[in-house]
Assembly symmetry: D2
Homo-oligomer: 210 residues x 4
């Protein structure tokens, strides 16, 4: 296996772009295959939909600067974990852990880091399950294990996160206290709704089994 943490012969922004796009494409294919298999076995799709995005060069440079690092290709590849990002949206909180487990079991995927903001939400109210993984990208002459950030969340959490993102963008991080407080209230409502819907779903699944 290629070493993670050197730049693997990637020398230009175009090559970074190529490699991380390939990693996203490969990761999406993986998730679609797992979703199909799950659907076949359990008559049920855990994944509602998937969004993929490449971080813009501007955002990457900003992140490096914030961490006191020069804007070199090597620093990008080694120190920015979310150049390639994939977001997996599902219906129920329980699906989140099911999907994380499926990813964990993939033999060719290496999980580098996990942050469980479902069990331990951020102070802002933010909930999501984050993983940094490497996925192998097979180029014409070599395999490059490439980092992808995966975020897994419910539709309700995703709705909340879009609004939070809009608010942070608008106030450039300097959000008025009453707005932050209202966001926390909303996050509570999202959690309650997710809990209630999951409980109802479990109830009818149990009834079905009897």
């Amino acid at each position: 296996m290629e070493l993670i943490g050197d730049n693997d012969g990637i020398e230009t922004w175009q090559e970074v772009n190529l490699l991380y796009n390939a990693a996203l494409h490969q990761m999406e294919t993986k998730m679609e295959i797992l979703n199909e298999e799950f659907q076949h076995v359990h008559q049920y799709n855990p994944i509602e939909h998937i969004k993929a995005r490449i971080k813009t060069p501007e955002s990457i440079v900003k992140k490096l600067k914030r961490n006191g690092l020069d804007s070199t290709i090597e620093n990008m590849v080694n120190h920015v974990n979310d150049i390639a990002g994939i977001r997996i949206i599902c219906s129920f909180t329980s699906d989140i852990y099911r999907i994380a487990e499926m990813i964990n079991h993939q033999q060719d995927i290496q999980v580098l880091k996990v942050k469980d903001y479902i069990t331990y939400p951020k102070a802002s109210g933010y909930k999501s399950y984050h993983m940094i993984v490497t996925v192998p990208v097979y180029l014409s002459d070599r395999k490059v294990d490439t980092k992808v950030e995966i975020q897994i969340r419910t539709v309700a959490m995703d709705f909340w996160a879009s609004l939070e993102h809009k608010i942070n963008y608008k106030f450039e991080g300097d959000v008025p206290t009453h707005i932050s407080q209202e966001l926390i209230d909303c996050a509570k409502m999202v959690s309650d709704l997710d809990d209630k819907m999951l409980q109802l779903n479990d109830e009818i699944m149990d009834l079905g089994r009897k």
Copy 2:
């Protein structure tokens, strides 16, 4: 314009399928164009995503039977309004009316019927904005105005509706009272969340304008 309500030379199930698939395809293209325009003017996508489906022959026959009608192509075309169905999912309740208005203003679309289950939810708690419209399908030798059912709802309403659908399917319409009651409770939580999120969104939009 072709008369709505005769079968327009459609004689076989294959032709029904062809025509209504074309209507769905045309309707999706329309909505994508409107979404792009809206995005350009308002820097904002009202449409989160779109799902399209053709009713199965089995469901169509079932619906005709329920209404005491023979399973002829003519009866399908004249009496089943949701052979082609499109579902438009948006973030905020206010988007629902914005999208409905855009559809209303399309010169080549004819709105046949509207049911506003947003302002007047069903007893079950179901919320959605329904429209039956005709969209022109240009075949090689004629134009056929073809019926499409449009459902517009928020992501939270859509999540609720999926669970309700699963429950109805499981109990074949004969849902235990306590389950129905819990569904109503969930619908209330969905409404409260949608209200709160919309209010917060309006608030930050207003702040931005000052």
Copy 3:
């Protein structure tokens, strides 16, 4: 109907881009619907595949300059006919005319100009059927009949045209005489192959009918 030849309230490049992209999207949907219908009636797809492209701002400005016109939005909309371009690739020469006829018969399409480089090839050997049409784009508040250039050709003609394009690009129009001559020879081989394949196809269709 909107007048063709004024700029229809289109004022910025972004709006040009939006409108012509919508026109391409609408035109592709139309062609896919016609292809499906044709397939149903004749058990045969006349269209192999479709490519769509928007002319770059640079190419548009270049074309205006070549014609002694200022780079205004109005001049773009009125004097550049191929801002939106669609290429339809088919198997047999006879399909070209079939497809052109289907487009001609569309009630909402207006054919502005036709150039039949199939019957009358260019001196270079270039063969293709060109149409300038308008397709209605339904914006939120009005309909804009928008120009699209359609090129229809066989796979063999398309192969030849790619090579010619590469050559013209390489030599910036100043192609060495022996290369031009070889291109003409190739065009002859393309024509002979297309004729032979069509003749063989017609032959077996006739055998089938007996």
Copy 4:
């Protein structure tokens, strides 16, 4: 690695379908990544387009019967090499070998069999480069190396092959001699055209280098 040649826990047609669809999906993703890389390095796309198909159960059963084998899942998986088929269409004959080489170099791909009908065309005139490979499909609990048949050919060869397929289908293998002869003549024209176009392309590439 899983053993090739046992049925890897695949027990139903649905599972066969699932697995081979996943293999096709994975193989397409691989080829798209390689095409992007090639485009970046050589400013040129070797792949024109890709078609993928799953063999119908009927065709699989027919093939087994022809080989005197029972229609079991195990026989399908072990003895039918083209359940999953991918066709890669390129512009020039030289691209065919370039693509084959890229596939050969993929570390996770195993090439089981190669038939070079480019250098050694069939008596019918048929030209194509065939490979039987295995591609790893990562299911939730295991990796299954799954067979895929790859056919690589030029656009002109592909056009010819479609017509030949139509003819074989029409006459159910019992093609009249004069039709077979005309097909051979066409194949000769296809070869001559491909040779001429490649020669012209090489010539201009050389001119560019001086």
